[in-house]
Every structure is written in structure tokens, then in C-alpha cells.
């Protein structure tokens, strides 16, 4: 089987697995969305009239259920049509609309912070590995310690000190709500300013992993013959470091980047919660708490597809950085 066929098979299987998992798990959860709506209403001092329950059951159509198989087939059919259903917690909004509203925030915040963390970690790792034996070595345990700190704990302390205490940063939200979202400089500046602290949290707690991985690969790469050859060639140190050692050492990190996206998205849920950030993580939490199957499924699916897509992109990019992968395919 060719490389591309195998990759395709892998992604299709992963997609199918995700889609199926996505279908099964919410249906195994106890409870009923109507109860949740009722409970919510009650908490807000609303009426708990028995008639209300019937009204909601009618509204959400949660009466009789079809068989599991029928439901599954209907679900697959809907997916193919891009139909993710209607959100119960934001009824009657479509799941796609709910997701569309929050996805860009997560993509931008998590995407940029992760990329930043990756670049910073890999860059620092390369330097630390290259300059082994200097004070830079102490960066490794320091940053690793940071990645052992719980995300939200760090975030909350940052909020308490930098936002609440010193007032340097806004406490929460994705932008100053007085402004209209758009491409105006005010809005962008505000979004940037609001995103700084969440991004800082993500970067601080994830940079250590990249740094360590890169440093170790760098050390290994430096004992390779081609680095020795490059030095023997009288190339400048920076060139040997970048074009020879780092260029090779970065490959596992690039491959790992895609894999790490799953973890990153997970972390973002917590981060978004701490910063009241309007992203997809808080939506997922909301969906779970409200037994909003459709929204849960939609978000989980979007996250998975996004991670799979990112993996695919990285896989393709990887072929560009490392010519060997493309050709290895024909052999193995």
C-alpha cells in the first residue's frame, strides 16, 4: 500500500472512530435535556409548573426514541449533509451556528499561543542544546517545572496577581464588549490585549515540553557525522546550528506538534473557563452540563476534525521538511 493511501486510510479510520464515539457516548449519559432545562429555569426562580415540562418535551421532541441503529444511520446521514442538528441549550439555534460563533476565538487564541509556544520552545531548545554546558542548561528544569504546574492554577494566580491585583490586564472576556467585533484597530487591539494573559498561560505551561524535546534532539543531532562534517567544512557556527543540527533535530518536534494539538485543545477548555474566554471550550462544558447532545457532538466532532486536519497538514508539511518520508513510503 502506498504512503498516501495508508495515510488516507488512517485519517478515514480516525474520522470514523471519532464520529462513532461521538454518537455513542452522549447516548450513554444519564439524564434528559428537558430535566436540565427545567432545573435551570428553577434555579433562576422560574416557574416549575408541571405544564412547563410537557411544553418542553413537545418543543424538543424528546418523547419516543428510535432504535439505536436507526439513530446512528440518521446521524451519519445528517453528518454527510453537514447537518449537526439543533442545540438544546441554545434552542432553537443550529449547532453549526453556535460553533461558528465560538470557533474563531479558540482557533486564534489556542492556535497562536500554541504556535508561539512551539516556536519559542523549539528555538530556545535549539540554543540550549547548542550551548550545552552554559548557564542556559538551567532553563530546562525551570521550564519543565512550569509545565508540571496545573494550567488553571497558574492561570488563576496570574489573574489574581496581574489582572486583579496590579490591574495590568483585563480580568476576562475576549475583547472590550463596548467595541464591535470586526477588523477595526480598536477591536483588534482590545482582542490582542484581552488575549495576552490567556496566551501567556498556555505558553508558560507548554513551552517546557518543546524546549526539552528540542534540546535532547539537538544534543543527539550534534553528535551526528553531518554536524561534524559541517564543522570540518569551516561553516559558521550559526549556520551549522540552524541548517544542520536544528534542521534535523526539529523533525520529531514537527511530527509531535500535530499530535500535541489534541492535548492543547484539552488545555484550552480549562483556560477559557478561567478567563471567561468566548471559545469553543466553554461551549463544550456548557453542552455537557446541559445534556446538549447535539452541541456536544458537534463540538467534539469539530475539535476532532480540526485536530485530524491539522495532523494531515503537518503530515504533508513534514514531507516537505524531510524528503525521506515521501520516498520511504515506496519502500515500507
Amino acid at each position: 500500500m502506498g504512503y498516501h493511501l495508508r495515510k488516507l486510510a488512517f485519517y478515514l479510520t480516525a474520522l470514523w472512530a471519532a464520529v462513532t464515539l461521538n454518537f455513542v457516548i452522549p447516548r450513554l449519559l444519564p439524564g434528559n435535556p428537558v430535566d436540565i432545562l427545567m432545573a435551570k429555569l428553577q434555579q433562576r426562580g422560574g416557574s416549575v409548573d408541571p405544564a412547563a415540562r410537557q411544553a418542553y418535551e413537545t418543543l424538543l421532541g424528546t418523547g419516543g426514541r428510535e432504535s439505536f441503529v436507526q439513530e446512528y444511520l440518521a446521524y451519519l446521514g445528517n453528518l454527510l449533509r453537514g447537518e449537526l442538528g439543533v442545540s438544546v441549550s441554545a434552542f432553537p439555534a443550529k449547532v453549526t451556528d453556535v460553533i461558528a460563533g465560538s470557533l474563531p476565538w479558540t482557533v486564534v487564541l489556542v492556535g497562536l499561543a500554541t504556535l508561539l509556544s512551539f516556536l519559542l520552545g523549539v528555538g530556545l531548545g535549539a540554543v540550549v542544546g547548542w550551548k550545552r554546558g552554559t548557564w542556559l542548561d538551567s532553563l530546562v528544569p525551570a521550564t519543565t517545572m512550569l509545565s508540571a504546574v496545573p494550567y488553571f492554577w497558574l492561570a488563576l494566580i496570574l489573574v489574581a496577581v496581574l489582572a486583579s491585583g496590579l490591574g495590568w490586564f483585563p480580568l476576562n472576556g475576549g475583547y472590550d464588549v463596548v467595541l464591535d467585533p470586526g477588523w477595526s484597530p480598536e477591536f483588534l487591539a482590545s482582542a490582542l490585549y484581552h488575549g495576552t494573559l490567556p496566551a501567556l498561560t498556555i505558553v508558560l505551561s507548554s513551552v517546557g515540553g518543546w524546549l526539552l524535546g528540542m534540546r535532547n534532539m539537538m544534543v543527539s543531532a550534534m553528535s551526528e557525522d553531518y554536524v561534524l562534517t559541517a564543522r570540518a567544512k569551516g561553516l559558521r557556527g550559526s549556520r551549522v546550528m540552524m541548517r544542520y543540527a536544528a534542521r534535523n533535530a526539529v523533525l520529531p518536534s514537527v511530527a509531535g506538534f500535530a499530535i500535541s494539538l489534541g492535548f492543547v485543545v484539552s488545555g484550552s477548555i480549562v483556560t477559557e473557563q478561567v478567563f471567561s474566554y468566548p471559545g469553543i471550550g466553554s461551549k463544550l462544558l456548557q453542552a455537557v452540563q446541559n445534556n446538549d447532545y447535539a452541541l456536544m457532538q458537534g463540538i467534539f466532532l469539530v475539535i476532532t476534525v480540526a485536530v485530524l486536519g491539522a495532523n494531515l497538514v503537518v503530515d504533508l508539511l513534514y514531507g516537505l521538511v524531510d524528503a525521506r518520508t515521501r520516498d520511504r513510503s515506496t519502500v515500507s
Binding site: 488512517f10 479510520t13 480516525a14 472512530a17 471519532a18 464515539l21 457516548i25 450513554l28 449519559l29 444519564p30 550545552r132 554546558g133 552554559t134 530546562v140 528544569p141 519543565t144 509545565s147 508540571a148 504546574v149 496545573p150 494550567y151 488553571f152 492554577w153 497558574l154 488563576l156 494566580i157 486583579s164 553528535s223 557525522d225 553531518y226 562534517t229 559541517a230 570540518a232 567544512k233 569551516g234 561553516l235 549556520r239 541548517r243 544542520y244 534535523n248 523533525l251 489534541g262 492535548f263 485543545v265 484539552s266 488545555g267 477548555i269 480549562v270 463544550l284 462544558l285 455537557v288 463540538i299 467534539f300 475539535i303 485536530v307 495532523n311 524531510d322 524528503a323 525521506r324 520516498d327
Partner: protein
């Protein structure tokens, strides 16, 4: 084993926390006892103060630490078992099993874990929910990364000859895995286990923070959750909020330190190393002979360490213009160290302790870093043993050839560089069309030709060749040797040719130096050495090569 301060620190910190988790609950009071006093800062009766309901923070911390450690341990064990089954067994079985197992692990890996955990955690019936269930869920979603690592390691171990040997001797599959492969995976497994423990404790804390953790159990995560919901930060009750996070951070940090140490045990190259200021301690040049291009005098190289190794002892060599000087010796005799020291490519802890290296009238050992860089390749180029490894696998031949020209011949135009690269390739008999090729697209012989072409780029007067043909096939070796002789005749550079293959040297070199244990024991013309060897070691070496065409004699049977 050398004592690593990292390991000691890591073990000590982790040990303290484990002890605290084990013994703390016995020494502190009941964490649930509610006191009307409410929130009080540290001091007096309550070393770490009390919570909003007057519960002792220290007692809670001890119980929570125990809970978190227990959870980490559970997840660590479960995830390690799962990753072992899918990683090791899959990789060993190979074929369809491996295909399915690795597909499965990869799928699990790319499906984002926490959202899945959040969804799955809600599914477990309430009365069964607790640390063990959360542990199970975390293990189920968290084993895949380790499985990948173990698979890769197993794949490489599986192809080791000792595994094949065990199979040939008739070992059963499970024994091959359990007795031959598993022990060698232990450091990796340990490192993955440690990683799983840290990840589990962190994930549980995250889940608890979202209110989705093992609510009825006491862990650091739930403690943080209560602190957060009791407005600990808003009340500035740091003694309630900070300690649980700190315990997690310190424990995670300690385990990371342990992991570093494991990595360093597996891969000694990663160990910390103290950088020395210089690679050269002494340089006392003596005037070179008139036609010598490279003169090595009384060179000594020592590997500094707990037990210093004197790798090169008082070696003196002279390479004359246009000659091929053979350096013969077996593994570990110091010949490669010598070759590196000549170009000052040796790295710490190796150090030139005395002697001199003169290139013409340039004292190589006295060159400043920048001078040394300009000296390299221009005057003296090198060809190493494994051409596959000497060429950068991720860039094209063109890039690696041009590199040299851009650095050392900045005045050349791009077209001129291209032309020069093509020219040297033609010189060594490689089609210039291959300039665009990546190293892996070339055969072994072709790669070594490219290396030689690279060495020729700047027309240096000296070329050091360290076992340039050892990894090659007999036929290819012959072609390369012929090529080297031809080029030397045409271009007139001198070659220091290093190999363990004495017959090859005898056929190729003008003069030969035989090295043993860091010393040159004999130094003579090829003919003298072959026909009239003086040193017993030389004689022994010569006798080690049965002649292809000569009589068999008593030597062999």
C-alpha cells in the same frame, strides 16, 4: 553509575511528597472536622491555617496528596499496561496485528483526550464514581502516546540480533517479549510511567476544577476546586489555594527530574557536561620539514573524566606534499581521535594536552576560533566513514556543496558556484544532474563520491580520509580507491588515509604508520612495512589477513 544531582534532587522531592501522602494523614487530624472559627490564616494550632469551614488545611493537604498519588499510581500502572500491550505486543507481532494496534493507538492519540474524558466521566454511574473510575477513564484516554514510543523502541529492538538469536534457539514468543525485549525497555517504560503519573495528576486537577472530577474522593484537584469555589483567591486566603497547586507542581517537577535522569541513563550523550574554555592546552610548534604539508609533533590527546583516557600518546607524523600516508590501527587505537585533533574537531571532554600540529607554517593549535574556521576545508578537508551520516539528510547535495562556497568564497557568483559544484561532481564521476538529489536517493558509493567531491571543492592541499570505504561493498570500494588515486595524481593533494584494513593501505599508500593504544608503533614506507615489518604488532596484523592468491599453508588450518 555516577550520581546525578538531578536524580538525587528529583528522588528526594518526590520522596518527601510521597512520605507526606503516606504518613501525613496519620499525623494530622481529621480533615473533615468543621470548626466554627471559619477561615483562619496559618499559625498556632493550624500550621497551614483553616478553610472557610474551619477545616485544617494541612490535614486536607495530606489526605488530598494521598488521593492524588493513589490516582497517579493507578493511572500510571493502567496506562503502562495498556501501552505495553498495544505498543510492545503490536510491534513485536508485526504485520496485521501491528497495523491494527498502531492504527488504534494513533486514532486514540489524535482524538482529543480531555473532551472525551469530560464526556466519558459523566457516563459512569454515580455510586461507582471515585478515584478508581476517573483513573480508568484517564488511563483509557492517556496511554496512546506511550504506546507509540514503546512501539518505536520495540520495533528497533525486535530487529536486534539477540532477539533473532533467541528465536533461533527456540524461545517462545511471550518469553522473547518478556525476557529479551522487556528488560531493555525498562528505562523507557519507567519514563513513560512517570510521565503518565504526572499527566494523570494534572488531568485530574483540571477535571476537578471543571467540576467533573472524582467528586467524592479527596485529591489535590478537588481541594483546589473547593478553594476556588470558596473564593479563596478573592479572600486572599493563599494558604488555602497555593499549597495544593504547589504540591502538584513540585511533585511533577520532581518526576520530571527523575525522567531527565532516566533519559540520561538511556542516552548518555544527554548528560550535563561542563564546558571547558579551550580544547587545546599546549602548543609548542617546531619548525616543519621543508616539503611537509602537515606536521604532527608529539601530539597528546586526553579524554578528561573520572578516569582520564590517554587516547593519543606522543604521536609524530609528517605528511608530505602529494603523498598518501596510511594510518593503520584497530578500533579504539586512537586513530580517529588523532584525525579529529589535527583539525581541532575533537570535542570536550577530549583535550590536546601537548604537542603541535603545523600546517605548512601555520600553527593549527594556536588559531583563534574564526581563523580556525577559515582554515578548515580551505587548507584541509575531510572525508568520514559513513557517507550516509556525513551528508545532511534533509537538504540536497547542491545545498551542501554550495554551503562551502558561500562560506569560503563569498566573492563567487551564484552561477559560478553552480558551475563549480557541477565540475567537482564530474571530477568524481557523478552526473551533475544529481545535484538536486537528497542523500537518501543516492547509493552508498555515490554518496562517498559526493563527499570526495565536496572535499575537492576548495582544492585543499590535504585531505584526511577516515575509513572512507569501510562501509562499502568490495566492488564499490575498489572504484573509490581507484578514484582517490586518480584524483591525487591529477590534483596533487596529500592524503592521510585512516583504516583498519592493512592490505588496502599496503596497496594504496606511499608510507604507513601503524597505531596501537594511542601510539605509533611503526612508521615506514609501504614496501618496507610489508616486506620487512619490525614491530611484532605489525607482524601480527599482517598475519591476520590470509592472502587471496597465496598458499593457504598452516596459517589457516
Amino acid at each position: 553509575m555516577t550520581r546525578s544531582p538531578k536524580l538525587v534532587t528529583g528522588l528526594a522531592l518526590a520522596g518527601v511528597i510521597v512520605l507526606f501522602g503516606l504518613l501525613g494523614p496519620l499525623l494530622t487530624g481529621d480533615p473533615a472536622t468543621i470548626r466554627d472559627s471559619g477561615l483562619t490564616p496559618p499559625g498556632g494550632e493550624h500550621l497551614l491555617g483553616t478553610t472557610l469551614t474551619g477545616q485544617d488545611v494541612l490535614a486536607q493537604l495530606a489526605h488530598a496528596t494521598r488521593g492524588s498519588l493513589w490516582l497517579g499510581l493507578l493511572v500510571g500502572v493502567l496506562a503502562t499496561v495498556l501501552s505495553g500491550v498495544f505498543g510492545i505486543v503490536g510491534a513485536y507481532a508485526g504485520g496485521a496485528v501491528d497495523e491494527v494496534f498502531s492504527l488504534f493507538s494513533n486514532v486514540v492519540l489524535v482524538i482529543p483526550g480531555l473532551p472525551l474524558v469530560i464526556v466519558v466521566a459523566g457516563f459512569v454511574p454515580a455510586d461507582q464514581r471515585g478515584t478508581s473510575t476517573i483513573a480508568l477513564v484517564l488511563a483509557i484516554t492517556g496511554w496512546a502516546a506511550a504506546a507509540r514510543v514503546l512501539r518505536a523502541q520495540t520495533l528497533s529492538l525486535r530487529n536486534r540480533d539477540y532477539v533473532a538469536a533467541a528465536r533461533v534457539s527456540g524461545e517462545k514468543t511471550w518469553r522473547v517479549i518478556g525476557v529479551e525485549i522487556l528488560p531493555n525497555l525498562l528505562p523507557v517504560i519507567a519514563s513513560q510511567f512517570v510521565f503518565a503519573v504526572v499527566l494523570a495528576i494534572l488531568s485530574e486537577a483540571g477535571l476537578s476544577f471543571l467540576g467533573l472530577g472524582a467528586a467524592d474522593s479527596s485529591t489535590l484537584g478537588t481541594m483546589l476546586y473547593y478553594a476556588q469555589n470558596g473564593f479563596a483567591l478573592q479572600r486572599e486566603a493563599w494558604w488555602w489555594f497555593v499549597p495544593p497547586g504547589l504540591v502538584i507542581a513540585v511533585f511533577g517537577g520532581a518526576l520530571s527530574l527523575i525522567n531527565f535522569s532516566i533519559d540520561e541513563i538511556v542516552n548518555p550523550a544527554l548528560r550535563d557536561r561542563v564546558r571547558r574554555d579551550g580544547d587545546v592546552v599546549a602548543s609548542d610548534p617546531a619548525p616543519p620539514e621543508p616539503d611537509a604539508v602537515l606536521t604532527v609533533r608529539n601530539l597528546n590527546v586526553v579524554y578528561r573524566g573520572d578516569t582520564p583516557v590517554h587516547a593519543v600518546k606522543d604521536v609524530s607524523l609528517t605528511l608530505r606534499r602529494g603523498e598518501i600516508l596510511g594510518l593503520a590501527g584497530e578500533s579504539g587505537c586512537g586513530k580517529t581521535t588523532l584525525a579529529y585533533a589535527v583539525n581541532r574537531l575533537h570535542r570536550p571532554p577530549a583535550e590536546v594536552t601537548s604537542g603541535s600540529v603545523m600546517f605548512g607554517d601555520v600553527d593549527v593549535l594556536a588559531l583563534e576560533a574564526e581563523e580556525l574556521r577559515r582554515f578548515r576545508w580551505v587548507k584541509l578537508s575531510m572525508v568520514f566513514q559513513g557517507a550516509m551520516n556525513s551528508l545532511n539528510p534533509v537538504t540536497t547535495v547542491r545545498a551542501q556543496l554550495k554551503d562551502v562556497l558561500t562560506t569560503h568564497r563569498p566573492e563567487m557568483s551564484s552561477a559560478q558556484r553552480e558551475e563549480r559544484c557541477a565540475e567537482v561532481l564530474r571530477l568524481v564521476g557523478v552526473d551533475p544532474a544529481r545535484l538536486g538529489a537528497y542523500p537518501h536517493e543516492l547509493s552508498g558509493g555515490m554518496r562517498q563520491r559526493v563527499m570526495i567531491a565536496m572535499a575537492l571543492l576548495l582544492e585543499p592541499r590535504v585531505m584526511i580520509m577516515d575509513e572512507p570505504t569501510t562501509a562499502l561493498d568490495v566492488l564499490v570500494q575498489r572504484e573509490i580507491l581507484d578514484e582517490i588515486k586518480r584524483l591525487r595524481d591529477e590534483l596533487g593533494f596529500a592524503v592521510l588515509f585512516i583504516t583498519h584494513d592493512l592490505p588496502l593501505l599496503l596497496e594504496l599508500s606511499d608510507r604507513i604508520a601503524v597505531m596501537r593504544d594511542g601510539e605509533v608503533v611503526e612508521h615506514a614506507t609501504a614496501e618496507d612495512l610489508y616486506l620487512r615489518p619490525h614491530h611484532p604488532y605489525t607482524r601480527e596484523l599482517l598475519a591476520s589477513f590470509p592472502s587471496l592468491t597465496g598458499e593457504a599453508g598452516a596459517l589457516t588450518r
